[in-house]
Amino acid sequence: MELFWEIVIAALLVIGGFFGLVGSFGLVKLPDPMTRLHAPTKAATLGVGAVLIGSMVYFAAFKGNLSLHELMITLFLFLTAPITAHFIAKANILRDWRADRLPPPEGAGDWAIYTPAADTSALELLEVEEADKEAAREAAQAAARVAAEEGGSEADRS
């Protein structure tokens, strides 16, 4: 039984190493930055994944405790790989591609990268801040008016 698990773990490590190697080789071999992005984001996922599964099998079979850290690593990898790829792709489009060499999006607009005002979140925050200040000013004025009126009526009474 021990031999069986050893073979399984060894196979997983070899698979992991192989896909890691292919991913790195793809970085060298593919012709331009956009295609190069494909090799590490994918091949590396299975490469790391196989090593992690191997580690889980090792701890379950030989140390007798279930280790779930590897699932976390997988989760974080799946969350971060697409985001990194997206940012590298964006930087590359901005550097090397003109808008007329890309297919247009559906509808009237353009891709976000050619639309400088696309990110309005900062502007919205400014607007909210302005509105808050305005509201505070109005409230202060109203309070001052009420205070003045009350002061006036008290002065009338005396």
């Binding site: 896909f19 292919v22 991913g23 080789f25 793809g26 071999k29 593919l30 012709p31 331009d32 956009m34 295609t35 992005l37 494909h38 090799a39 984001t41 994918k42 091949a43 996922t45 299975l46 280790s67 779930l68 850290h69 699932l71 976390m72 989760l75 799946f78 969350l79 790989a81 697409p82 985001i83 790829a85 997206h86 792709a89 964006k90 489009i93 890309l102 297919p103 247009p104 999006p105 559906e106 509808g107 009237a108 607009g109 353009d110 891709w111 976000a112 990268i113 050619y114 639309t115 696309a118």
Partner: protein, 163 residues
């Protein structure tokens, strides 16, 4: 009131579970601390994530996750084959526009991530109005087929989950 204290209940649950797994100790101590994190982090980040996504179809999430895992496995083998055996001058990279029927930002994020993780495709850009994705294909003799597969395989299921 409850919405103010607990802006994202799913995130609270997820953070607690992640903390327990990271700590690798399933004791009352870590559970309490995990819950504390799970309550504090959504509460602090609520201004940056004001809308609460509504998940309508929980069993669909499992189906979606299994399909994506299977596709990631296939994706790795496909890309490895292309890297090793297709010469560079035979490679046909292509840009594809994928029009979106999804409107929830969370759903679009999941779709973009899925496209990047699956066979030979990579999300490069979002349209300014948020109604299309720009996808780069490593080797696509038939770009329209790629677009239809993304819409049929992933977007339809995400629509069932989120909308």
């Amino acid at each position: 009131m409850l919405k103010k204290l607990l802006p994202h209940p799913h995130l609270t649950l997820l953070l607690t579970v992640v903390w327990l797994l990271l700590a690798n100790a399933y004791t009352l101590n870590s559970l309490v601390f995990g819950l504390l994190m799970g309550l504090l982090i959504p509460w602090i980040t609520a201004p940056y994530w004001p809308e609460r996504p509504r998940i309508r179809n929980f069993p669909m999430i499992v189906e979606y996750a299994l399909i994506v895992l299977w596709d990631i496995l296939k994706s790795n083998i496909t890309v490895a084959r292309i890297v090793l055996f297709v010469p560079n001058d035979k490679l046909e990279p292509a840009w594809v526009t994928v029009p979106l029927d999804l409107h929830e930002p969370e759903a679009i994020t999941v779709l973009a991530g899925t496209i990047t993780m699956t066979p030979g495709t990579l999300t490069a850009e979002l349209a300014a109005d948020g109604h299309s994705l720009l996808v780069h294909c490593l080797h696509a003799p038939d770009p329209d087929g790629v677009r239809d597969e993304i819409k049929e395989r992933y977007e339809r299921r995400l629509k069932e989950i989120f909308e």
